[in-house]
């Protein structure tokens, strides 16, 4: 197990190094950073001095090594548009995105698994057929459209929930204000979370349904029935656990994409998270923020992948080497 963790960590390190290289190339080729930082009246000599002070006159390799060094010490530079350290800006925005993503993920995971199991256990039922049809809509409608539809129904027509923004915040630490402790916070979180999680929910539901139908046809289920095990036990102890093994992988990756692709949802709902910040920085060619966002998302994917691999090993005994044979 420890060997596996070490191996995975080394692999992750390589991946992160490659992503750092891409972020670095972004820095080099998305325009001249000196031009972005100085005014129109700056003389060529002053520009040269700035270039030297930033180390931009050094060979590319030296610059890359320095860049890696800065990334490793969590120094991601200063945002062009806000003139503040990128680290600070992202730290401000991180809680909003993480809360949104986690609530969306939990929502989609819990309801996706429950509905998927229901459909698998009642494959010929009317409710199952309806759920299948609705889930097709959920898979095929684009996120922004779902968001706008939800705003129209629940904010404009019914007036139950706020249509944009994050509110009802309670500070927990210096950097972290949470919206999860007040009713107002939950109200403003609900629509974006449903919008962000709907696609994942339908995906998980369809996946769980088909996996479980497959497992229910397996010989060990028939043998369980033939041993006289109660139906509940067969469904929820034998079938469900075997269903969830392949689901873990997909859910892990989906969690990553929920965080990465919250950009659209955050834009639709003007949610003050990292996605919105990223979109602003794209509009303003704010390369430090863009490349840091890239690194952060890559880091999350790498970590999630590692956790998924470890979980897989913990759940499925067939993957645990052959120590006891």
């Amino acid at each position: 197990m420890i060997a596996l963790v070490v191996r995975r960590l080394l692999q992750s390190l390589v991946v992160m190094l490659v992503v750092t290289l891409i972020a670095f190339i972004m820095f080099r080729y998305a325009g001249d950073p000196v031009n972005q930082m100085v005014g129109v009246e700056t003389t060529e000599a002053e520009r040269q001095a700035l270039r030297e002070s930033l180390g931009l006159d050094q060979p590319t390799l030296v610059q890359f090594v320095r860049y890696v060094g800065r990334v490793a010490s969590l120094n991601f530079g200063v945002s062009f548009q806000f003139r503040r350290p990128v680290m600070e800006l992202l730290a401000e925005r991180l809680p909003a995105t993480l809360e949104l993503a986690l609530v969306a993920a939990m929502l989609s995971l819990v309801s996706g698994i429950l509905l998927g199991v229901y459909c698998a256990l009642n494959p010929r039922g009317r409710i199952s057929a309806a759920l299948q049809a609705v889930s097709l809509v959920g898979v095929s409608l684009p996120t922004f459209l779902i968001g706008i539809l939800l705003i129209y129904v629940f904010s404009v027509a019914l007036g139950w929930l706020p249509s944009f923004g994050r509110s009802g915040l309670v500070p927990v630490t210096k950097h972290w204000s949470t919206g999860l402790l007040t009713l107002q916070g939950w109200k403003s979180l609900l629509l974006p979370a449903v919008t962000l999680g709907l696609f994942q929910m339908t995906l998980i539901m369809r996946l769980v349904r088909s996996e479980m139908l497959e497992v229910l046809r397996a010989d060990f289920i028939r043998f369980g029935v033939a041993r006289g095990l109660p139906q509940r036990r067969i469904y929820f102890r034998h079938a469900l656990k075997n269903t969830l093994v392949p689901v873990i992988t997909v859910v892990g990756l989906q969690l990553g994409s929920i965080i990465a692709f919250s950009i659209i949802t955050e834009t639709v709902f003007q949610w003050p998270g990292m996605g919105l910040l990223f979109l602003q920085s794209v509009q303003n060619v704010d390369v430090p923020i863009m490349s840091t966002y890239l690194l952060l998302i890559a880091f999350m994917f790498v970590m999630i992948n590692m956790v998924v691999d470890l979980l897989y090993n913990a759940v499925d005994p067939r993957l645990k080497g052959s120590s006891r044979v």
Partner: protein, 326 residues
């Protein structure tokens, strides 16, 4: 003779499909007594496995029992509800499937499999259930049973897994065990061990076995009586020695003649011409008549019933049958 453990009368199983009605079993009747191994032979699709599944009420939808009755110790079980059957399965009738590789839950230890099943049927506490699990594994011949409880199915060989499956079927000491091709997926040398194990359990516990196979040689070694099935019907039933020595039904005669033998130096193996009829187009009269050399007009029009002296009964108009059903 004592009352049979299992008694099946005129069992009929149908599979309605969109286009036509498949008749999986038609008029199947037999008894199994305590401590007896009743073998079922026949080619694929003859209805052997359907018979086992029907007794367990494990016929896949849309298949259903359309007629007849099944009695366990004199009590009808073919009309029981799902929960009623849960009390019969495993407790009174155990089942062993063909493929031991896929019969066990890959994510559960052998110990959990056993203690779960023991717990459900016998309501023993953890310790007692564990002790029983160890003694069951010991009985079916798994070395170091106490240590192996923590092992997962993939850590055993195919033969060992089939032993574990048999141990699982025996958890609650059922009166009857249905073994559906228990050795087909195993090596020949391992087959012999599993057969010996079944025979031994049958003799020591008085468990009745219903042994489903297409291997006539295995029947000859293991079973006390044999039922020969063809196209969903029992065409001949009787003591193994009788039937092997004096097969009465032309189909049985063909089956036995087709067994390769070391004594006769034949160029080619004997075979029965033709193929078994499709279940959607069962011929009138005797099901075997299109392939039978002896068939006459009576065979083509009227269905023969199982008849004969004593134990040995045959469903054939032409051989060894003195009287016809009206």
């Amino acid at each position: 003779m004592a009352d049979p453990v299992l008694s099946v009368r005129d069992l009929r199983v149908e599979f309605p499909t969109r286009r036509d009605l498949l008749v999986g079993l038609d008029g199947v009747s037999f008894d199994i007594h305590q401590g007896e191994v009743l073998g079922f032979v026949g080619e694929s699709g003859a209805g052997k496995s359907i018979t086992g599944a029907a007794i367990m009420q494990q016929i896949a939808a849309p298949g259903r029992i359309a007629g007849g009755e099944i009695r366990l110790n004199g009590q009808r079980i073919d009309k029981l509800s799902r929960t009623g059957m849960e009390r019969i399965r495993g407790r009174h009738i155990g089942m062993v499937f063909q493929d031991p590789l896929t019969s066990l839950n890959p994510l559960m230890t052998i110990g959990d499999h056993l203690t779960e099943t023991i717990g459900v049927h016998l309501g023993l506490g953890r310790r007692a259930a564990r002790d029983r699990a160890v003694s069951l594994l010991e009985e079916v011949g798994i070395p170091e049973p106490a240590e192996r409880l923590r092992s997962y199915p993939h850590e055993f060989s195919g033969g060992q897994r089939q032993r574990i499956v048999i141990a699982l079927a025996l958890c609650a000491e059922p009166e009857l065990v249905i073994a559906d091709e228990p050795t087909t997926a195993l090596d020949v040398s391992v087959q012999a061990q599993i057969i010996a194990l079944i025979r031994r359990l049958c003799d020591t516990h008085g468990t009745a076995f219903m042994l489903i196979t297409h291997d006539m040689g295995m029947i000859a070694e293991t079973a006390d009586r044999v039922a020969v099935m063809y196209a969903g019907r029992v065409v001949e039933i009787g003591r193994v020695a009788d039937i092997v020595a004096h097969p009465a039904h032309p189909y049985t005669q063909g089956l036995i003649a087709a067994i390769p033998s070391l004594e006769t130096d034949a160029e080619r193996l004997r075979q029965i011409p033709g193929a078994m009829p499709s279940l959607s187009a069962i011929p009138d009269g005797c099901v075997f008549h299109p392939r039978c050399e002896l068939a006459d007009d009576l065979c083509r029009t009227r269905r023969p019933v199982l008849a004969g002296e004593g134990d040995h009964r045959t469903a054939c108009h032409r051989t060894a049958q003195a009287e016809y059903a009206p």
